[in-house]
Symmetry: C2
Subunit: 212 residues, 2 copies
Amino acid sequence: MIGVALELFSRRSPDDVSIDEIASAAGISRPLVYHYFPGKLSLYEAALKRAAEDLAGRFVEPREGPLGARLLRVMRRFFDFVDEHGPGFSALMRGGPAVGSTTANALVDSVRQAAYEQILAHLQVAEPPARLELVVRSWISLAESTALIWLDGRRIPRADLEVQLVHDFAALAAVGACHDAELAALLREVLKGEPGQGPFGDLATRLVVLAS
Amino acid sequence: MIGVALELFSRRSPDDVSIDEIASAAGISRPLVYHYFPGKLSLYEAALKRAAEDLAGRFVEPREGPLGARLLRVMRRFFDFVDEHGPGFSALMRGGPAVGSTTANALVDSVRQAAYEQILAHLQVAEPPARLELVVRSWISLAESTALIWLDGRRIPRADLEVQLVHDFAALAAVGACHDAELAALLREVLKGEPGQGPFGDLATRLVVLAS
């Protein structure tokens, strides 16, 4: 039933989905739904919990190969998720039915934290300096807003945005490194093994072309 | 009274501010507060409206001189605002007492829209291509999240972050331009008159140093 509810809450704005509809789609009676979930909010929160676990799971990526390529694969899975859950994702992130719900806010934060921890693990940084934390956390919010803007009309191909977000990460990290010697040293170390053909090398090539 | 309420809602988490306290600070009776505002939410919304107008007003900047320097002045005024309204700003943006309030959501969106329109006006772009809209709107969300992360411990001097956000804008615009010829042409035109000593020139110098 949670799966059916998640499907419905994802495909339309959750405000427009009724308990009756969920019961009917799940092929169970309305009283039975209420037996497990005292109201729509608790069912919504249960569906959101499943979605949050699903999304956090998509951030997991083997720690092998170039970092830029790893991040690009994660961005593809992130946009898969956003694509599958579009209206529900927009409604939640733009301040929808469950805002004010402590549970919903905590779930959104848990997904952000999972993304943050995955990135630090791939960078092999256990104790991030303040600047690195800022770069990673603010880039995560940039990825959210990019996805929301994409959903609003889909005027840019998502494949472009997946690459662009990898490039945005590199660009924001480079700006941070311009302002902080510790971050600069850390990034030099991290990027030592990156090949010229990956997304990071691709960005460098594009910037040189742009500047010329 | 709205001014007093805004002061109290700004300095502590709005959840912790009572109508009694506002009445007492404003030197008026509790029934008189209720005469004008049927509940705490309506008073909070009135205070938020004043704060939103204040912040949107700080985005207004004469259209003279280098763009980077203009944006830096706006960032200083933005951080002044964030500094003055710290706990209230955090509570609102992290999903605080007024979330679920359509009025509060609309006010936050109106401030974002004001920032967006100011930036387009300074770039002298009436009909932005989709990529430019994405760069500007996603940078606005980056500025919000940077301010929120700064408020959480203030581990990086705000003056550094004001400059960094100007550099972040340039970096995200450059990445966008790498992916979109129309945006690239537009930015070349806009940046023609920028001096080497402004924040944008400074970033270019720093990046060259970093890469070497």
